[in-house]
Amino acid sequence: MRVAVLSGKGGTGKTFVSVNLAATAKNAVYIDCDVEEPNGHLFLKPTYTNESPVYTLIPEFDAAKCTGCRKCVEFCRYNALVFVREKPMVFSEVCHSCGGCALLCPKDAVSEKPHSVGAVEEGTAGSVRVVTGIMNTGEVLAVPVIKAALRAGAGAEELTVIDCPPGSGCPVMESVMNADYCILVTEPTAFGFHNFQMVHKLVTLLGKPCGVVVNKTEEAYAPLEEFCAAHRTPVLLRIPYREELARLGATGQIAAEQDEETAALFRKLLTAVQKEGAR
């Protein structure tokens, strides 16, 4: 079963929930798809066994073969190509590696060369397999790295926890695309609720069943409660706002392994997710 954990708003507790859920399940795969700032490894502290680079393909132009027909430049819907001083020029961070320019070139003047965008690290932390996608600083396209991380973590029989990036754009869609179930982590604030509605809309559109974890709960936040009731979205768990959890997090510890109250909460969440996912 593949469970994606997302929230819209950053800092609501995606990684907190993902890491604790994977640690509670024991036989689990944890995939960090927040490739701009992967931080699940800070808590799981895996021993890495493998690192593989992630490349995208970027066009290169053979000036001797190019006749300047500009078909490639006109074709590129991302506008990653320009034609200046009688030759094409590529903006690699704008290129989406579709390969259209190479396919279209009537003179076979375009070849595709690998361009490093990040890496995938694989390791283990106890019985949890840890896969971390890391995007190179300065790159803007997260999707190729997310795809590589998901591929590296695929094929597991056990629970797979996909720690998604914040937001609700392409990187999030890619992360949840193959999930069987989605956990929407939110907090009882207007900002948290606003972005929660965005990811709720997204997973509904993608036809994914979902449930809610309300983190940092002090008292019930009425708009959130009303929304969940109206949409028949189950609230799987409420995690109290406790200083002890912040302290454990700040020292890089997994709360469910240190604090019995939290351990019980995550056992409850694991059971609920397995039950919901089996429907």
């Binding site: 430049v73 590129c76 819907r77 991302y78 506008n79 990653a80 320009v82 034609f83 200046v84 001083r85 020029m89 903006f91 961070e93 704008v94 803007v140 396209l141 754009g169």
Partner: protein
């Protein structure tokens, strides 16, 4: 010498955006004529600055007067040898006059792209 200026819907005021300006004014200093063209890059989903820069280069401009310009477009202009001047004030006509009098400074700082931020 051909000078291009991004202008807004009034067709007289310099547009603060380069890549997504609705029109470009092309002034030919030799003939003293002016032409207004639509910016086909304005609606681009990605790489609007790059596409607009292509338009400027294809029109054979020698100089661009703009409020701001992205790094990618600036790279195109550098490769093509198009000079970039910083607009001073909202009027396109007054900017042309200021340029002819040598009163406009060269634009040297460029912003990062807005792509991937949506």
């Amino acid at each position: 010498m051909k000078i291009m200026i991004p202008v807004d819907d009034s067709r007289e005021t310099v547009c603060v955006s380069f890549g997504r300006a609705p029109y470009f004014l092309i002034h030919n200093t030799e003939t003293g004529t002016a032409e207004l063209i639509g910016n086909s890059a304005a609606e681009a989903q990605s790489g609007a600055g790059i596409k607009a820069a292509q338009l400027v280069v294809d029109k054979g401009a020698d100089a661009l007067v703009t409020v701001r310009c992205g790094q990618n477009a600036a790279d195109v202009f550098k490769a093509a040898g198009v000079a970039i001047y910083r607009a001073d004030g909202p009027s396109a006509a007054e900017n042309l006059k200021a340029l002819s009098e040598g009163k406009l400074s060269v634009l040297t700082s460029f912003h990062a792209g807005f792509h991937g931020k949506a």
